[in-house]
Symmetry: C2
Subunit: 308 residues, 2 copies
């Protein structure tokens, strides 16, 4: 099978910025308490925009920054941990908004790492179908599902969306390692009429052990040393988790891309938002190898190696 | 690419049977009014079972009827028009229930025909990954999202789930034609805090025109005449729609499988439930060709040709 090429990217954050000070006052915390524990300084919460609107804005950003013909998109996949509506799906609303003529649309619920599943599905469709572009969006409105009085989740989570446009590529490197562990699904949940629940200790253990193992076996599959990876672009869950994973896989701080400081943990949106930032800053060159890694509710986790 | 083989199937209907008489009294209708307009005599509504429980029961039925090792499932996809929980997804709950060790799980929201998308994704994973079985489930708890005072939807919709176990096959025939039309998404919706809404006339027009065209171009792709199809297994939306589609594609009543009388319109569950019935009745033989066709909210539609 062929690989995929990242053609363009975009992102969106709702306009209500929530700084740590908001929580410091609310929970009577020291100034540095949140930052030291999470690496987060600010996150964004949607006041009025729904999941479809947040998603559409990320695609609008992608179109505005890149000279691409959005009508040539043949597959739209939106990944989120929570969808507001059953029908039509967000992906269908995007098709409608940009009046895309011939397209397969679907929304995916696969915990916090459905964006990774979406990329992998897109690769298979780009390989085997007559599709020019696949548009994969990770989007979240987590603020709607958190108890703002719950210090465990409220300080962490933010809203936003990231959009990634993919094309088939003749590059050789593409590898993935996707795993689901429904057996441990109760440590991070978002159930009907309940707020998001997180058993912080168990999630920390899962993220720092299983995710490192997942990455190591991905690298082994392609016989690539971690030093050859330009950037690891992880789900931005918590800086302490990212540092621990980096240590376990032997990655430097420079390799392990971390932008949680400015956006918080945006579940499915976190990888495409970070990827968009790296692309905007022109930090990638042809033949660089990057590693995307998602993990979270489900439990679900997955990593993907792509050559730029 | 290879084709797929249907290895096993199962189904489940919740235990509260709603006969037409219930509506006849409620809406003061003549005895035959509903049946003449819809082809439906009874449907099932869940009283207490949630979407996960309904889905699990269909897998339990599949396991009880077939000598298959469920632990060898490597991909679980659940399609529904409405998911109750964000995390964990129903597919993850199924992995947990049957303690399936190595597996990729995801839930798909793609209107009423996400089951068709699920089958097509499964085919690509069975072809390219080391996966023994893929388990595709269409499941619905529509009764939770209907206004029981709305004659347009309440008389039509039922709950249930159908499970289909797939394996890679060397059979030659596999073809699909999946289309999304987000531009018309507002004629059949299931939005947050709203009941399912259906513009009956527009849905009828969409189903009888676009679905027939979709099937005709699918058959053309493989240069197969409709007479060579043993059964068309359509989404069971309404008998009048099925009769109209049959007429437009030149299929006989015997070819166009219709079991809506006993189950109602169960959205994503309708095709796998009908397929399960055909398999249970031993109506299929090796090298028969069947055509699955789904359509509905999104809008989304898709048809698949499979050789048995």
């Amino acid at each position: 099978m062929n690989s995929i090429k990242i053609v363009a990217s975009g992102m969106y954050l709702p306009n209500k910025k929530i700084e740590n000070d908001y929580f410091n006052k609310k929970f009577n915390l020291d100034d540095e308490w949140i930052y030291q524990r999470t690496g987060i300084k600010e996150r964004y919460w949607s006041e009025k925009e729904n999941l479809t609107q947040i998603s559409i804005m990320s695609v609008r950003d992608l179109i505005q920054k890149n000279n691409v013909d959005i009508k040539k998109v043949g597959l739209i996949i939106v990944a989120s941990s929570n969808f507001e509506d059953g029908m039509p799906g967000v992906s269908f609303n995007i098709q409608k908004e940009f009046n895309i003529p011939n397209c397969i649309c679907m929304d995916i619920l696969a915990g916090c790492s459905g964006y990774i599943n979406g990329i992998d599905i897109a690769r298979k469709y780009l390989e085997t179908e007559e599709i020019e572009y696949a548009l994969i969006i990770g989007a979240e409105r987590t603020s709607k599902y958190i108890d703002k009085e719950d210090l465990n989740t409220a300080i962490l989570l933010g809203d936003g969306a990231g959009a990634t446009l993919l094309q088939k590529s003749n590059n050789k490197i593409y590898e993935k390692n996707i795993e689901s562990i429904g057996q441990q699904g109760d440590i991070l949940t978002s159930k009907e009429n309940c707020n998001i629940y997180m058993d912080g200790k168990k999630v920390y253990k899962f993220a720092t052990s299983r995710v490192a193992e997942n990455i190591n076996s991905l690298l082994k599959k392609q016989n690539i040393d971690i030093s050859k990876i330009k950037y690891i672009i992880p789900h931005q869950s918590n800086s302490r988790i990212l540092n621990s994973i980096a240590q376990k896989i032997g990655a430097t701080q420079e390799q392990m891309y971390n932008n949680i400081c400015k956006v918080g943990n945006t579940f499915n949106a976190s990888i495409p938002i970070a990827l968009n930032e790296i692309i905007e800053k022109k930090m990638l060159e042809n033949s660089d190898i990057i590693l995307l890694v998602g993990y979270g509710g489900g439990l679900n986790l997955g990593s993907i190696l792509i050559e730029i």
